[in-house]
């Protein structure tokens, strides 16, 4: 047994993101059971856990792509209030286009593979109402540059690009509107190790320069260790343990977390 922690006393800022007690079943499969999560402004929350434990489902919920059977979701942002799961389809779409960015493990989910890379990023700006061609192009280029995408490939369609470059296009699309929240689902999985390190480094820079709040899901504990301030461990649709990243890695409490951490050391 360990001690029960106090409520924050020094750091009084409200969490940017709060997910309260969400549950979701697909038929007989309980993908999520009473899961809660918070992320403070500028914080990086890492989510780890076995395959099928509900990580991607939770991330899709944070992106308002998926609505749970029950539970609440709030973002502490100007002009945003109430349980976001109650918003209508249009309001949800607008909110996630303008305030939330997401990078999927599979670039096919996030990108139109045959449109130009800059066009993919511009599309996000169009959804948010930007109409001037010059502004679209300029903003798309800025976002691609911040994602460290090679600018001579601006007009190449993602299908012709390497995996690392495709992830950078997704990232550029995700940050083009300077979102308050960036969601990353296995952003470096499937990339070869040296490319992985570079994408990771880009993420780290973005986080430091812009103080974006991030939620990152990864099987790669090295990625989580490098980026996350706090870590949440999931198994079978439930959160088994959460804590400061160094504590989760150095002094895991739950049997499952110990197994997970020791397997990778």
């Amino acid at each position: 047994m360990t001690l029960t922690l106090d409520a924050p006393r020094i750091f009084q800022t409200k969490p940017l993101l709060s997910v309260d007690n969400v549950s979701k079943s697909y038929g007989a499969v309980h993908a999520l059971r009473d899961v809660s999560a918070i992320a403070y402004p500028g914080e990086v929350l890492g989510i780890v856990g076995e395959s099928g434990s509900g990580k991607s489902t939770l991330l899709r919920m944070m992106n308002l792509e998926e609505i749970p059977d029950k539970g609440r979701y709030t973002l502490d942002l100007p002009d945003v209030s109430g349980n976001l799961f109650d918003l209508d389809r249009f309001a949800r779409r607008m909110l996630c286009a303008t305030r939330i960015g997401i990078v999927y493990q599979n670039p096919h989910l996030g990108l139109l593979m045959k449109h130009s890379s800059s066009g993919n990023v511009a599309e996000r700006l169009l959804v948010a109402g930007e109409r001037s061609f010059a502004t679209l192009r300029a903003k798309a280029t800025t976002a691609l540059e911040a994602s460290e995408f090679p600018l001579e490939r601006l007009d190449a369609p993602p299908i012709e690009l390497s995996g690392g470059m495709q992830q950078r296009v997704q990232l550029a699309k995700a940050i083009a509107l300077e979102p308050a929240l960036l969601l990353l689902d296995e952003p470096t999985t499937g990339l070869d190790v040296s490319v992985q390190a570079l994408v990771l480094d880009t993420l780290k820079r973005l986080q430091q320069d812009r103080q974006i709040t991030m939620v990152i899901v990864s099987h790669d504990l090295g990625v989580i260790r490098t980026l996350a301030d706090r870590v949440m461990v999931m198994r079978r649709g439930e959160v088994v343990e959460a804590g400061l990243a160094d504590q989760i890695f150095q002094d895991p409490q739950h049997a499952y977390t110990q197994q997970l951490v020791h397997a990778k050391l």
Binding site: M1, T2, L3, T4, L5, D6, A7, P8, R9, I10, F11, Y40, E43, A197, L198, D201, K204, T226, D229, R230, G243, L244, D246, Q247, Q250, D251, Q253, H254, A255, Q258, Q259, H262
Partner: protein, 239 residues
């Protein structure tokens, strides 16, 4: 003198589920540290020295006890403080110096050292200047300042690590064998910097492989050898 840190009844054990057993690291530890005081932790291998430091930093979760810290925001029990509060204190008031640098690809030595200053609001140019002074002090060659420490030697990495960890004054400094792998010049620089921080009022708790290095800084010794928990004035004992 006011106590910066009061540790009371602190107990730490590890439950290893796959072995079905429990390893006790220490139990019922009580001592306090004043501002400007330097406490040396002593004890055989496995006595729990590193574990105690990590528990104070909250990398480890204790089972019982209190760690009352006088922060700029008033008294806070580090054993129970919320994670965000711990994260905040680590950025502002509590430092932990270990043997290992976490180097990052494509971040230069001077940028790594300057980072805590930048995060605390020092202008980037000024932060870099101070970082270079610190690297110089620890004897890192100027031609390495702009290089990436990922390829540095163990000793060079440790110097960068120390320059970074000690660049900002801290209210509480935890030191786990910071002299390991340092040459004589860097050890001397470390001792100089620690003396400076101590006279600035930092409370320090440290483990040193060769306590002789810091002999003149030590105010008190806490011996963690099991069944032998004692606290002594430095004047009573030889190191």
């Amino acid at each position: 003198m006011t106590a910066v840190l009061e540790i009371e009844g602190l107990t730490k054990a590890f439950t290893l589920h796959h072995l079905g057993n429990r390893i006790g690291a220490f139990s019922d530890i009580t001592f306090s540290v004043d501002a400007g005081e330097f406490v040396l932790l002593k004890g055989a291998n496995g006595a729990g020295k590193s574990t105690l430091l990590r528990t104070l930093y909250r990398s480890y979760l204790p089972q019982a006890g209190q760690v009352r810290f006088q922060s700029a925001h008033g008294e806070i029990d580090l054993a129970r403080a919320a994670e965000v509060d711990i994260a905040h204190l680590r950025r502002t008031e509590i430092g932990f110096v270990t043997q290992f640098l976490t180097a990052r690809p494509r971040v230069s030595a001077e940028a790594i050292v300057a980072e805590p200053l930048r995060l605390s609001g020092v202008a980037p140019e000024r932060a870099l200047e101070q970082a270079r002074e610190a690297l110089e002090l620890f004897g890192v060659k100027p031609d390495l300042w702009q290089a990436y420490p990922t390829t540095f030697s163990g000793g060079e990495q440790q110097k960068v690590n120390l320059a970074r960890a000690l660049i900002l004054p801290q209210k509480l400094l935890l030191l786990d064998e910071p002299t390991a792998s340092l040459d004589a010049k860097a050890r001397a620089a470390l001792v100089t910097r620690l003396a400076e921080l101590k006279s600035g009022g930092a409370a320090m708790i440290g483990v040193f492989h060769h306590p002789g290095d810091v002999e003149h800084l030590i105010d008190r010794i806490v011996d963690l050898t099991p069944d032998h928990f004692v606290e002594k004035d430095h004047t009573d004992v030889a190191v």
